[in-house]
Symmetry: C2
Subunit: 504 residues, 2 copies
């Protein structure tokens, strides 16, 4: 019981401890839930499972709002049991993806900084239950989140009821690293008083009306570890290209060797880039990002990174052990914020971030598709990439130039879906090189992209398309009959290479 008193320090709440099953029994068919969790970190791990059990023998469909993707296979489970009406704003689970693309339920893919505005202004269905993971509840009923904040702040303030999952597997040392801030309603809002990544602007937990806390469930289970892919030859080369570009920016006097606050999307390329910084001359770096992955902790260990702000910490299994058993070492150099603040246009533009995100495909004019395979099938969602790329000092997109053993060129005549248009894409990096598109008109961009970024096996084919298109004129010349022909070729023949069929 010692631990219970440490974890629930508000006397009024001690009698609200319940089992996951009891808490789940309060949730009815048709309700809307707001779950903590962002990229497998800080998600609730008991009540969703108890709920899924109920769904096995009664009709039970809910709307699920989260920060981003959930760990612990919750998204998988909810999709398998067909328990969803609507899911937003992001996911990254293979089973859920299948359900989305089959049209089994509605998935609203949203800029991650936007969901909170819709909740605050009642555009979305109100949340019946917020279910939030916590390390503790303080003397005055303040809920302290764990390894992510995501949308938990706005859920806690606007949900009708709250269920807290206190996870004793999460170190109590997490208390104190959160900075909870909720902007006022639009129209009554003050400037967000943050000008540097390490500014503290809020409070260490979520102050809520304690009457809304209907139950507290204890759990003891670590976050799902991330499945980081180690840097390979190509991602290492991409990191080098990106670092070369940053060096040129320093030479041109546009950056110093402290660079600017760094944001990086999740994934192996991003991780490789950050690994690359380890051996670079850059120093005193700051990170202002959504997710901290393994490499940021290596950079903290090497004193390359001075401070890192995020809304979630997502680590591999090994790294999780190391970081959380030595957490004292990192506490003063880390801060967790709501995703609305980590991704806020106001702050990204003000600080002038360097933003690095992954493209699924891009076209000759610099439009980027981050989400829809062959224009139709959802991968994960746009996530924060739009929040960052649009407002950053540098919107950088990285991708390998080919996929599927060369049967797909990541650079196509015409993207099959647009998440980031030419106005928001500053620099493209592939293993072939980088293209700095800033200040260039579309026709200037084509040449740079083909020369610097396209894989040699597709270079001629892409040039041929462009040369033919140019005869038709326009700001962005295209041959509409052939614009999507590479995708169509892939769907029919399993390759975008024209030699297999389709002489142009």
């Amino acid at each position: 019981m010692e631990s219970v008193y440490n974890r629930i320090r508000d006397q009024r709440l001690l009698d609200r401890i319940v089992s996951a099953e009891e808490a789940a029994s309060w949730i009815h068919d048709g309700m809307t839930l707001g779950l903590s969790g962002f990229t497998r970190a800080g998600d609730v791990k008991a009540v969703p499972f108890a709920l899924a059990k109920r769904a096995e023998h009664e009709p039970l469909k809910v709307n699920v709002y989260t920060g981003a993707s959930l760990g612990s296979d919750v998204d998988k489970l909810f999709a398998e049991k067909n328990m969803l009406n609507k899911r937003l704003p992001f996911q990254a689970d293979a089973t859920m993806r299948k359900g989305i693309n089959a049209g089994d339920f509605h998935f609203v893919d949203q800029h991650l900084s936007h969901t909170s505005e819709w909740i605050r202004s009642n555009v979305l269905k109100p949340i019946d239950y917020a279910i939030l993971e916590a390390v503790a509840i303080t003397e005055d009923g303040m809920i302290i989140p764990t390894t992510s904040i995501g949308n938990s702040m706005v859920f806690s303030q606007h949900a009708k009821n709250i269920i807290v999952e206190i996870n004793t597997a999460q170190t109590e040392l997490l208390e104190g690293i959160h900075d909870l801030y909720e902007p006022e309603k639009q129209g009554e809002r003050s400037p967000i008083p943050l000008t540097k990544p390490d500014d503290r602007i809020g409070v260490p937990g979520m102050k809520v009306d304690v009457d809304k806390i209907k139950g507290i469930v204890f759990t003891n289970q670590l976050d799902s570890p991330s499945t980081i892919v180690e840097p390979d030859d190509e991602t290492v080369i991409m990191a080098q290209h990106l670092i070369s570009f940053l060096r040129e920016e320093i030479k041109a006097g546009r950056l110093t060797d402290k660079l600017a606050p760094l944001q990086s999307g999740i994934g192996s390329v991003a991780n490789a880039v950050f690994h690359g910084l380890l051996d670079s001359e850059f120093t005193d770096l700051e990170v202002y990002s959504e997710v901290l992955q393994d490499a940021v902790f290596d950079l903290l260990d090497a004193d390359k990174v001075r401070f890192a702000s995020c809304c979630s910490i997502t680590l591999s299994s090994d790294k999780m052990d190391k970081v959380f058993s030595n957490f004292e070492k990192y506490r003063d150099r880390l801060m967790l914020r709501p995703q609305e603040i980590s991704n806020h246009p106001e702050l990204i533009r003000r600080m002038g971030l360097i933003s690095i995100n992954t493209a699924l495909e891009l076209d000759i004019y610099g439009n980027v598709n981050s989400t829809h395979v062959m224009g139709t099938k959802m991968m994960n969602g746009i996530g924060g990439s739009g929040d960052f790329a649009r407002n950053a000092r540098l919107g950088i997109f990285v991708t390998k130039s080919i996929a599927k053993n060369g049967n797909i060129s990541s650079i196509v005549p015409f993207v099959s879906h647009v998440d980031h248009n030419e106005h928001d894409v500053d620099v493209i990096v592939t293993e072939q090189g980088y293209a700095d598109l800033r200040g260039l008109a579309p026709r200037e961009r084509v040449e740079k992209i083909i020369q610097n970024c396209v894989h040699p096996m597709y270079r001629e084919q892409l040039s041929a398309y462009y040369e033919e298109a140019k005869k038709r004129g326009g700001q962005t010349p295209h041959i509409l009959e052939k614009a999507l022909s590479w995708h169509i070729n892939f769907e029919k023949n399993g390759t975008m290479l024209q030699r297999v069929e389709q002489p142009v």
Copy 2:
């Protein structure tokens, strides 16, 4: 001379008055110019013409940066004389458009709030001469703009040299209505301290190093009047639909009858909407927009609008007479700001604007094309629509459901160019009705759009496409072979209607 002393109150500058020809003689082939001017207002009217004269008998090509489109046929002239290397960030002239689409020079189409960041951080070529229209220069060398600010503030601070055109046809009463504010460099920047449309945060003119002022030219010529198209039956109906939507928002408790600060793009639909507000119950309105057109002054006259902030005043000939001969009446209820401030994401999101812009075409999932006809030919440019739609409380897009006597459907299976993707488009309005897309997954949006917004002559054809696409699955089902077939049909047969050819 009385008027000269009124207009140039800084003694040090009295000997810098020169002819337009002399000022133009300082400009060399290959230079970069920053011209004042935004949507035909406050553009310089003498030096560009003198420069164009020179171009008749010597090789002379320049880069031209502006606020937005120029009046006085300057864009036309520069295109005709083939005087351009690069033009940014916006234009709206038929001759220039032709030159752009022929590839005669490079046009960089940019979010209007972004150009200043590129100038400030030396991403763009440095400006050799800023040529700025003014009503006066104050005792301490502060340049007072005229009917627009556009990018003049950033030009004045970062150009190597400045030429001022003092336009005595512009009323001296303009002095005092400008609020000049330049954000610090990114990374050293404070919050922009504006929370309401009428907040004054800067100074009434542009403080510059007077040594940079190389010459002052006097002119006496009004701005080109706007060619406003009067509301027609359809735009009146569209305005009514939009007002119905706003009423529903009030009913739902998401707005009050003061609404929220209004932004509206330029053009006849926007003007009609604002006319519609004249007869509505809404009151005490605020405008926070780029351009003020005629209708806003009618709303000011009727005391419907309390305050209007903008970066440019663009009026028809009649209205110009009326407004500027009674300017005392409006001075306290107007403010002009740099386009970086009128269009700043930080401020648009903070105040929660209602943003109304025109779509060229849109697709069944809510992606909007504002710029490229048939995916290739530039109309004008994205302008501020992206700054606003992405960050506003409500991103509303308006368009008539058909064009070219019904041979074009403005709503197509797949847009041929994306300026605003599904994440940034909240509400669509045509003369058929409105579709509120907020919180809807793509498959839910299709039904609303087809039912509420598509013209009856295309409804069946669009449903047929979607029904066939659905069989292939996906988050946004498409048939890639047919996605652009409507455009291709139009190019071949002059119509998007399938009965002419192409049985599906």
